[in-house]
Amino acid sequence: MATRRRLRKEDQEELKRRKKELRKSYEKTRPDSKKVGSKRISDTQKYLLVGSAAIIIIVIISIQFLIPPVPICYYTESDFVYATLDQDSQKVSFNRIIAHYLIRPDHTEVNGNIYDYFNSSYKIAPPDQPAHSSPPYVNSITYTLANVKVPLIWACRMENGTALQMSTWINKTVMTLTPSSIPKNVLRNVNFRLAITTQISVDRYNISLKFNKNLPNTSINFVSIKNGTSFFNQNGTIFTQGVNLAARSTILLDFNLSIITAPSFSELNFLEYGNFYLVKKGELLQSYAGASAFRESEIFFTGFGLSDEPTLKKTKFLDIVGIIPYFNITLT
């Protein structure tokens, strides 16, 4: 009996083995056989999958819209190389403006526009790299710099009165002279006023003006300053500084000039140079990226008479250490 039972048990094991062998054989011949009752994705997994896809799409869209665009072109500085005052028309005209642009290399094509305010001709000095082509005498010029591979300093030099599109934190600079007519050989007291309006609020500002020390028969006295403190040094330079200036505030600097001019002089340049620096959150606005990311402004330095103003409008580009132009007086 025991032997028979053992045999039955052996037979059952053999049968199991055979069945297993049969199944293996079937799976070999039918590779798709395993798909019977294959695992399906559950509803929870489906929701998770759809949800995560939606989140990824939202994140991508947010990144596209929330991250500020990087400016492609930085205006860096400008020089008013030469300016004259027409006493009859009471207008100062800039004979030359040099503007420097730094163009970022990560854009293959950059466009810039320069407008002629007076509809008069001007020359544009080509940049160092032969990357642009434009007719030299037109009212509106479009520069196209293709395939910029390295940071490019781009200088525009314009002759005669022009308007130049650039950018600044300074909203307006006004220089006035009273009286505007100065007869020769007569001692006259002339009031000179420099008004600078800031575009934004600043924590601190610093202005320095250097008057031409060697002007004959001319003495300059500082009269007043509306904001901040100031002092004059021996070299004829005035420094002034102040704090916490609200947006669109105007800094007024008044000077009194005692002038006796010799007949040989027909033109007097009493302001040698001037600089103003605006500081916000401990940084010079030249490199203050936080406030400048979305700032777009446009400046038109227009020809202006003593009563006119150079209007500096908001523009696309940013950052400036303003350089106050030379101020010449033509004597009668």
Partner: protein, 106 residues
């Protein structure tokens, strides 16, 4: 069976019982048991998902005989009016729901 130990077994017939599961999954097991009981010694019957696999070590039967057993199965379980047997390939049968029978009536 001991004399068959060395012989490799392969699938001789496959019975697709998918439609049976629409009625009751247990019927596939019943079919497995039925075929095991009917087929001669040396036949191995096993279920793989919705299929019944049949292999032979000895005494292999022909296709007609297999179909006869399947018909007998349907008769025994009174399923003849709802299902019929069709040969889909040389080695495969399918227990197919009859046309005109809605699967909800199964």
């Amino acid at each position: 069976m001991p004399e068959d130990k060395g012989k490799e077994i392969s699938v001789s017939y496959v019975i697709d019982a998918d439609h049976l599961t629409w009625m009751e999954d247990r019927l596939v097991d019943e079919l497995n048991t039925f075929m095991e009981a009917r087929l001669p010694t040396g036949a191995i019957v096993d279920r793989s998902g919705k299929n019944i696999l049949i292999g032979f070590t000895t005494n292999e039967i022909n296709k007609r005989q297999v179909k006869t057993y399947l018909k007998k199965f349907l008769h025994k379980f009174e399923l003849e009016e709802k299902f019929h047997i069709i040969a889909t390939t040389d080695e495969e049968f399918k227990i197919q729901k009859r046309k005109g029978i809605d699967f909800r009536e199964l």
